[in-house]
Symmetry: C2
Subunit: 342 residues, 2 copies
DNA sequence: TTGAAAGCGTTACCAG
DNA sequence: CTGGTAACGCTTTCAA
């Protein structure tokens, strides 16, 4: 066992309380005693026992809020699961988590939700998937200024004062997809690019970084004009079918948003299952299915579960121990899956 | 906060100690009282507070042993780091970890090491990378029979009584590599397969499952006769150079063991950097370098750090809470890396 | 400025 | 078989 507060207290000839105050700079201890204590702690390599700390701190209950939007999409369902799990795990560490799910993406609704959590429920920290509007940004800033830390997840508002962002590095995600395409298309060929909403920052970033990188590393590739399917499978189906009719020699399809399944259906309908390469995003039941059938070649995942789980833990660390995240951007990584390592 | 032992004790009109004994079947409590207590706990949905448990159990110090072999290879260095980290993290949970590193792979040496840990140091649980010999197997079985749980990592002795194995699913690893090859070689072509020791079970499994799967899914591919480089870069260099001379039209190289860097050097020397696809194993500084330079296309990783970290935690869970791992095989997964998502 | 003591939830030891 | 009590390491409150 390591050296404890009590041992330090005995050596210094003071009480445990004094040591605690000295080492945590809580004041109410003379500078001279404090220095002596700090020296002893340093020499002995004191390192607070997290279990003891956690147990003692369970008295001070804290309350966190979590707002998740567009909860009906498969990915956000996984985010919600991550949040629920965090709520569970944090429960006996003295943390209560209030989770609010919003079906749509609506700034006004989200604003109301924030107000409810802060004003009525009195949360001390907030994690949310923000709509990127000036009102939300201002609201976040006001919360932070009033001492309530805010963490964005899945989607970011970089210009706000949020403590950090937990989510995908979309530039990396796009470039990684480009790298895969280049490896699969040594001879070049036509690539069809499908996105969701043009206004969606994540989709846009994935697409532009994909296109730029692919043009750079695979000059033989020809990018067909990008199409938007608004995250809908039926639109994606038709757009793909149409693209295939106009360009029967399409070699690969890059799907930067939802609508993957529509693409897969269209390929199978055209008898091109596994012949046209597909790179798409997110581990979801439907995507896994299409991956196993060989329609999707690579699935890039953003670890949605982690996106729901991590922010609550970060808030807890901050509120309990004052530990800020090391980096403003907590990227969850770009995971690569094929049918074999799913 | 959840319901606590104390609350249950109050309701049942008994002391906390009695509740504790009843709920954990420690005996020394009349069956009738025990039932009443269990009923109350059940109704209230009692769930032990892990923090409290951990703290209380720090009195009962436990001691674990960890033996790591061939510690000079890059991968085993990472395993060692994982073990060191686990030792650190478990320290203030009342667990002391004795780590022994053996440079070579030597059954006699390992046996001596086990004896020292068990007989002299009195460890209560053991994690090790075993040499697969009858003596080691028998020794493991004897330890298990004498109440000392054993976990194998990185390498397994499936026929022994070890509690579980933490490491790579080499069949999956081989097939995944085959899947990548197939995606990269739509037109087929020659693939050069390089392994380490023919006697190494992991290498063999990676190779056979790779070959079988690739033959199955990519009939256009021609596998060149497999070569062994004995995990040495210099041999790998020469073997690759020779293979390239004999088959200038090699499309890809599969490296199932160490020696990756020799392969890369040979390719670069031949001016084929990035033109011949390379699939290799393990995230190590050198491999990362070759990945970034584009010589290696895909790196498959077995999460060596996890292999060092996890077993000690599993032993702790077993010894403290009696929790056995859910599965006999705790596979650490097959992670895919390109230069973009490293 | 400092110390004493209670408390967090659990386990363990010792009397009865 | 059972209860009381101390202990684990730390925080916090209340007196001094």
């Amino acid at each position: 066992m390591s050296v404890t507060l009590k041992q330090i207290a005995e050596i210094a000839g003071v009480s445990r309380g004094t040591v605690d105050r000295a080492l945590h700079n809580r004041g109410r201890v003379s500078e001279e005693v404090a220095q002596r204590i700090r020296k002893i702690a340093d020499d002995l390599g004191y390192c607070p026992n997290e279990v003891g700390q956690a147990l003692a701190k369970t008295r001070r209950q804290i309350r966190l809020g979590m707002i998740i939007q567009s909860t009906e999409t498969p990915t956000m369902r996984i985010v919600a699961q991550g949040a629920a799990r965090a709520a569970h795990d944090l429960h006996n560490l003295g943390v209560e988590v209030l989770i609010r799910e919003l079906k749509s993406v609506d700034a006004a609704q989200e604003l109301a939700c924030i107000r409810e959590l802060v004003d009525d429920e009195g949360i001390q920290g907030l994690a949310l998937t923000p709509v990127n509007t000036p009102e939300i940004c201002t609201k976040i800033n006001r919360l932070v200024e009033s001492g309530i830390p805010v963490i964005t997840l899945n989607t970011d508002i970089p210009q706000s004062k949020r403590m950090c962002f937990v989510g995908e590095d979309s530039v990396c995600a796009g470039k990684t997809a480009a790298g895969l395409m280049a490896l699969m298309l040594p001879e070049g060929g036509k690539v069809f690019v499908l996105t969701g909403h043009l206004s969606n920052a994540t989709h846009k970033l994935r697409c532009t970084s994909f296109s730029e990188e692919l043009m750079r590393i695979a000059p033989g590739v020809q990018l067909l004009p990008m199409q938007s399917c608004f995250d809908r499978d039926d639109y994606a189906f038709e757009l793909t079918q149409h693209a295939l009719e106009e360009n029967p020699d399409i070699k690969a399809i890059y799907v930067a948003a939802n609508g993957q399944h529509g693409v897969c259906e269209a390929l199978r309908a055209a008898g091109l299952n596994g012949r046209v390469r597909v790179v798409a995003y997110d581990i979801t039941p439907q995507n896994n299915e299409d991956l196993k059938r060989g329609t999707i070649s690579f699935l890039l995942d953003q670890r949605a579960h982690e996106q729901g789980y991590r922010p609550l833990n970060l808030l807890r660390d901050y509120l309990f121990a004052g530990r800020k995240p090391e980096d403003e951007f907590c990227y969850t990584g770009t995971i690569l899956k094929t049918k074999y390592n799913l």
